[in-house]
Amino acid sequence: MGLAAPTLQYVEHRASQVTAAPGLSHLDYVYPPLPVLLALLLPGGPFGLAIVACLFSGMMLAYLVRRIGFSRDLLVLLPMVAVPAMWYTASNLLPAVVALTFLAVALQGFIRFATEGETYGGFIAGLALAVSYSADPSALVYAGVMCAAVPLIGAARYHGDPQAPIGVCAVLVFPCVAAAACWSFLLWKFSGNWPGSLAYSLNADVLGFPDGILGGIGHAVTATLTDLTRSELYVVAVVLVGVRRRAPAFSAALVLPVVALALALWLGFDYSSVTAYFLFTLLAVTVITQFSLMEDRVAWWILVAAVVAQVIIAIAWAPTSPGFSVWSHHLFG
C-alpha cells in the first residue's frame, strides 16, 4: 500500500514474526515493545503505523504549542514543522517519534522535579522515560544524562543532603530500569534470547563497536558535532540561558545531551541524523519556554535569526537515510 518506510516495514515484520509461530518462542521479536504491540493490535500494516506516528507527532506538537501559547513565539517551532526531514520523521519513524514525544514530556517533568523539587514532575519524568524506553532503548542513556544533570541544575535545592542525589537518580531512573529489567526477564524467560533483544531496533548494533572501541568514539563524536551544525537553535538557546538568564550551571547541564548522543552512538543505539535533529530542536524549544527566553527582546531577535538559519540549513540538508531519499524522491521528484 503506497510507500512504506523501512522502519515501519521492520516493525510490521516483527509483529508478523510473533504471530507466525505458536507459543512464546518468538517473544523476543517484540522489540521495541510499544511499536510492535501497536503493529499487532492495529489494522492497516505500515499505513496504520504511519497514521499512529502522525498522531504521536501531532500530540507532541500540541504539547509544545500549549507550553508556548498562541503567540508569535510559535516561531521557534518552525525548525520542526517547516523542514522535510521532520515531515519524514513525523510520519515514518514511529519508534523515534514515540520515544521523543515521551522524552519531551520527561524533560518538562525533569526540569520541574530537579529545580523546583516538584515530585509530580519526577513521576512524570520517570514514567515518560519508561514509555520512551519501550519505543527506543536509548531512553536509558537519557535517564542517565538527567541524573548527571541534577547536580548542575538542582545543586542549590539539594545542597547539604548527601542522600539527595541518590534519591533523585533513583526516582528518575527506576521506571526505565524496571521496564528494561522486567521486559528483559520476560524475554529471557520465554525465548531464552535476552541479550539480542536490545539490538533488535532496525539500525542498532548495541555494544557491537564495528569500528573498534576507540575508533567508535571518534566516529560518534564526529557524527554528533555534525548534527550540532544543523541545530543552531539549540546552540543559541544554551548560550542564552548562560548569558541572558545567568544560569551557567543550567547551560552546562544542557551540554550533557550532546555527550549523551555521542555516547548512544558509540554504544551502538539506533540514532540517525534525523532523530538527532529532532532531539536537539525539541531540547531547544523546551529550554526556550522554560526560561521564557522569547520575552527578552535581545534574545528574541537572536533566536529568530537562529530559527531562520536552522530552517534554511535543514531544508537544504538531504539526510543520507535511504528511507528518506526514497520518500523525498516520491514526494518532490
Binding site: 509530580y120 513521576f123 542522600q163 534519591g167 533523585v168 533513583a170 521506571p175 526477564f185 520476560l186
Partner: protein, 637 residues
C-alpha cells in the same frame, strides 16, 4: 425555683481571687486579657492554665453567689433521675440532678452561675421545682460517668449495632453472605475436582489480573494526589488568621491501654498544640482495669485541661469502644483522636477548624497526615515510613481529589461532634473502626477531607509487633468490606457507581492484593526452579507470561510510589530502600493470612500494638519545634 438570680462578672471574680491571694494582680490582668481575646470564661481560663485549683475556684463562685457548693464525689447523684434525661443535654448544659428533696423539688448541681433562663430550662426538663447548688464541671462529668456507667458502657459497645445492625461488624457474616461464600467455595472446589489444571490456571490468572488491577488503582489515585502536592487545603496563614475568640471548644480523645510509659510524652505533645487551653477538652480514656496506666496518669500530675475518663470494663475491649465513651462525654463542637505517642503539628486543630468552615455542613471529618519520627531505626521503620508517606501524602489526597471514599487513618481524624453522634460513633466490633467510619460517612452522603498537617508517631520496629498490628488492620479492612457489601444494591444506589467501585478497589482490594502476593511469588519462584517443559503442562506460555508480567509490573508500580512518597518528605535516604518494597509486601501477605484466619476464628479480637518500644528518643517533629502558645503565667497566689 430559687428566687435569686446572681451574676458574677469576670472583673469582680478576678478581684476576689486576688483579694483571697489565689492569684497575683498580674495573673488577673493576663487572664482578663485572655478572656477578652478568646471569649472563654475567666473560670475556664484560670483553671485550665493551672492558676487556681478547680474545686477552690468553684467554691469561691459559690461563696460569691451565695449558692451552696456540692461535692459530687462525696454525694452520688441519683442514677434513676439521670437515666430519665438526655445525657447529651446534661453535658452540654453542665448540670446533673442529684436527688429529690422532701419539699418536692429536685436538687440540681451545675457548673454555671444560676440565672433565670438556666433554672427555667432545668425545671422544664425535670418537670419539677429546682434547688440549685454549684459544683465543678469535673464533678458533673464524674457524676455522669458514674451515674450513667451502665448506659455509657452499653451505648459505647452496642449503640451502633442497636440503631443499625447492618452497619456493625458485630456479626461478621450475614446468612446470605455466608450462603454466597459457601456456594462460591463449593463451585471452586467442584471445578478443581472436575478440571484441576484448567481451574488452577483460571484461578491464577484471575489472581494476577486482580492484583494488577488493585495496584494500578492505587497508582492512579497516587498520581491524582501527586498532582495536588503544591495545593494546600489550609495554609499556615489561614490558621494564624483565626481569632481565639471565634475558636470552638475542641475535644481531644486520647485512648490509652497499657501505655503507662508514654503518659508523660502525651502531655508534653498535647501541650504544644497551638490552641487556647481554655477551649480544649482533653479526655484521657483509660480502661478501668488498666491499673498500671491509671497509676501513671495519677503520678503524672496531669494539667487541669486534661480529664481522665475510665472506660467501663466489658467486651469488646477495643479502642473504638473507649472512643465512644469519650464521644458520649465530649463537650467540644469538634473532636479529634490522638494516640498516646502522637506528636501533631501545633496548628493542626486550627487548620481543621478552617477546613470544616470551608467544607460545609456535609463535611463530617478531616484527616491529617501521619508520619514517623523514628524513621531510620531498622528495615521495618524505614519501610513503614515510606509506606505512610505515600499513603497519607498521595493516596488520601488522591482519593479526596477524585471524590472517592476515604478510609480514615488510625489517629488525627477530626470530626464534627454532632454529626459523629448522628453517625453512631465508632463500631467497637470493627478492628479498623476508623476506616469503617470513613466509608460509612461516605455511604451516607457525608464528605471526608484531608488537611495538610502531619502527626508524627512512633513506627513499629519489632517484627512480631508489626505483624500483629498489620494483621489487625487487614482484618479490619476485611470486616469493613463485609459490612458495607451486605447490601450491594443499596450501596450502589446511595453512593453511585464511582464511589462503590472506589470502595471495592481500595477497601476490598487492599487485603486481597496482600493475599495474592504470596501465591504470585510462589508461581514466580516455581517458574524459575521447575524445568520449563514440566511447568508448561501446568501453565501454558501466555498464562504464565501474564502472571509474571502482572507481578513484575505491579511490584514496580508500588516501589515507585513508595519512592516518591519518601522523596516528597525529603527523606532521600529512604528512596533506595523502597526497592525492598516487594519484601515488605511479602510481610503484608503473611499478615493478611493471619488476618484471614482471625477473621474466621476471632473476628472481634483486638491485636494490641505495643508502643514506646523505639530505641531512639522521640525527636521533635519538624513542624512542632516552635511549640504551642499554651499560656504559662508564673505560679503565684
Amino acid at each position: 425555683m430559687e428566687p435569686a438570680t446572681r451574676t458574677v462578672d469576670a472583673a469582680t471574680l478576678g478581684t476576689v481571687l486576688v483579694d483571697k491571694g489565689m492569684i497575683t494582680p498580674e495573673q488577673r490582668d493576663w487572664a482578663l486579657a485572655r478572656h477578652g481575646t478568646t471569649g472563654a470564661t475567666l473560670t475556664t481560663i484560670v483553671i485550665s492554665t493551672g492558676m487556681v485549683p478547680r474545686r477552690d475556684l468553684y467554691q469561691v463562685l459559690a461563696e460569691m453567689t451565695g449558692v451552696p457548693f456540692s461535692d459530687l464525689t462525696a454525694e452520688q447523684a441519683d442514677q434513676r433521675l439521670m437515666a430519665r434525661l438526655d445525657p447529651e443535654q446534661l453535658i452540654r448544659d453542665g448540670w446533673v440532678p442529684v436527688r429529690s428533696l422532701p419539699d418536692g423539688s429536685t436538687l440540681v448541681a451545675g457548673a454555671h452561675i444560676p440565672r433565670d433562663a438556666l433554672l427555667t430550662s432545668i425545671e422544664r426538663t425535670l418537670g419539677a421545682p429546682v434547688t440549685y447548688h454549684i459544683t465543678t464541671d469535673w464533678d458533673i462529668r464524674y457524676a455522669l460517668q458514674h451515674g450513667l456507667r451502665d448506659i455509657i458502657a452499653d451505648q459505647a459497645a452496642l449503640g451502633l449495632w442497636r440503631r443499625s445492625a447492618t452497619q456493625s461488624a458485630r456479626k461478621a457474616l450475614y446468612p446470605r453472605q455466608l450462603a454466597g461464600l459457601a456456594v462460591a467455595l463449593a463451585v471452586v472446589v467442584a471445578c478443581f475436582v472436575l478440571w484441576p489444571i484448567g481451574s488452577l490456571q483460571t484461578l491464577s490468572i484471575a489472581v494476577s489480573v486482580l492484583f494488577l488491577l488493585f495496584v494500578s488503582f492505587k497508582f492512579v489515585v497516587c498520581m491524582a494526589g501527586a498532582r495536588r502536592e503544591r495545593y494546600q487545603a489550609v495554609t499556615p496563614e489561614d490558621a494564624a488568621a483565626l481569632n481565639d475568640e471565634d475558636l470552638p471548644v475542641y475535644t481531644v480523645l486520647a485512648p490509652m491501654f497499657r501505655e503507662a510509659a508514654v503518659v508523660g510524652q502525651l502531655v508534653t505533645n498535647l501541650a504544644k498544640l497551638d490552641y487556647p487551653v481554655s477551649k480544649l477538652d482533653v479526655l484521657l480514656l483509660l480502661e478501668e482495669d488498666d491499673k498500671e496506666t491509671i497509676d501513671a496518669a495519677k503520678a503524672a500530675s496531669l494539667p487541669a485541661w486534661m480529664t481522665v475518663i475510665l472506660v467501663p470494663r466489658g467486651q469488646p475491649q477495643t479502642k473504638p469502644k473507649a472512643c465512644n465513651v469519650g464521644l458520649f462525654l465530649a463537650r467540644g463542637d469538634y473532636l479529634v483522636i490522638f494516640d498516646a505517642e502522637d506528636k501533631p503539628d501545633p496548628d493542626q486543630l486550627k487548620k481543621a477548624v478552617v477546613a470544616f468552615d470551608r467544607g460545609g455542613e456535609r463535611m463530617v471529618c478531616v484527616q491529617a497526615a501521619l508520619n514517623y519520627w523514628n524513621v531510620y531505626e531498622n528495615f521495618l521503620t524505614r519501610m513503614f515510613t515510606a509506606e505512610y508517606s505515600f499513603w497519607f501524602d498521595y493516596m488520601l489526597p488522591g482519593l479526596d481529589a477524585l471524590r472517592l471514599p476515604i478510609p480514615l487513618g488510625g489517629t488525627s481524624n477530626h470530626f464534627r461532634t454532632s454529626v459523629l453522634r448522628q453517625l453512631g460513633g465508632w463500631d467497637p466490633f470493627n478492628v479498623t473502626e476508623d476506616a469503617d467510619l470513613g466509608i460509612r460517612a461516605s455511604a451516607l452522603g457525608y464528605t471526608v477531607g484531608v488537611i495538610n498537617s502531619t502527626t508524627f508517631e512512633e513506627a513499629n520496629r519489632k517484627f512480631g509487633n508489626w505483624i500483629r498490628q498489620r494483621s489487625r488492620w487487614i482484618k479490619g479492612y476485611m470486616q469493613t468490606t463485609l459490612v458495607h457489601a451486605r447490601s450491594p444494591v443499596s450501596l450502589l444506589k446511595v453512593c453511585g457507581v464511582r464511589q462503590t467501585l472506589g470502595f471495592l478497589l481500595l477497601v476490598a482490594g487492599t487485603p486481597l492484593s496482600f493475599l495474592f502476593v504470596l501465591p504470585l511469588w510462589i508461581l514466580f519462584v516455581a517458574s524459575l526452579l521447575i524445568p520449563a517443559p514440566i511447568f508448561a503442562e501446568l501453565y501454558p506460555g501466555w498464562w504464565l507470561w501474564l502472571g509474571l508480567f502482572n507481578l513484575l509490573v505491579g511490584n514496580s508500580l508500588m516501589i515507585y510510589v513508595s519512592m516518591m512518597g519518601a522523596f516528597l518528605r525529603q527523606r532521600y535516604g529512604l528512596v533506595v530502600w523502597s526497592l525492598l518494597n516487594p519484601v515488605y509486601w511479602l510481610l503484608h501477605s503473611i499478615a493478611s493470612y493471619k488476618a484471614l484466619w482471625q477473621l474466621i476464628t476471632r473476628p472481634h479480637y483486638w491485636e494490641k500494638t505495643t508502643h514506646g518500644i523505639s530505641a531512639l528518643a522521640a525527636q521533635p517533629s519538624p513542624a512542632a519545634v516552635t511549640g504551642g502558645d499554651v499560656p504559662r503565667p508564673r505560679a503565684g497566689g
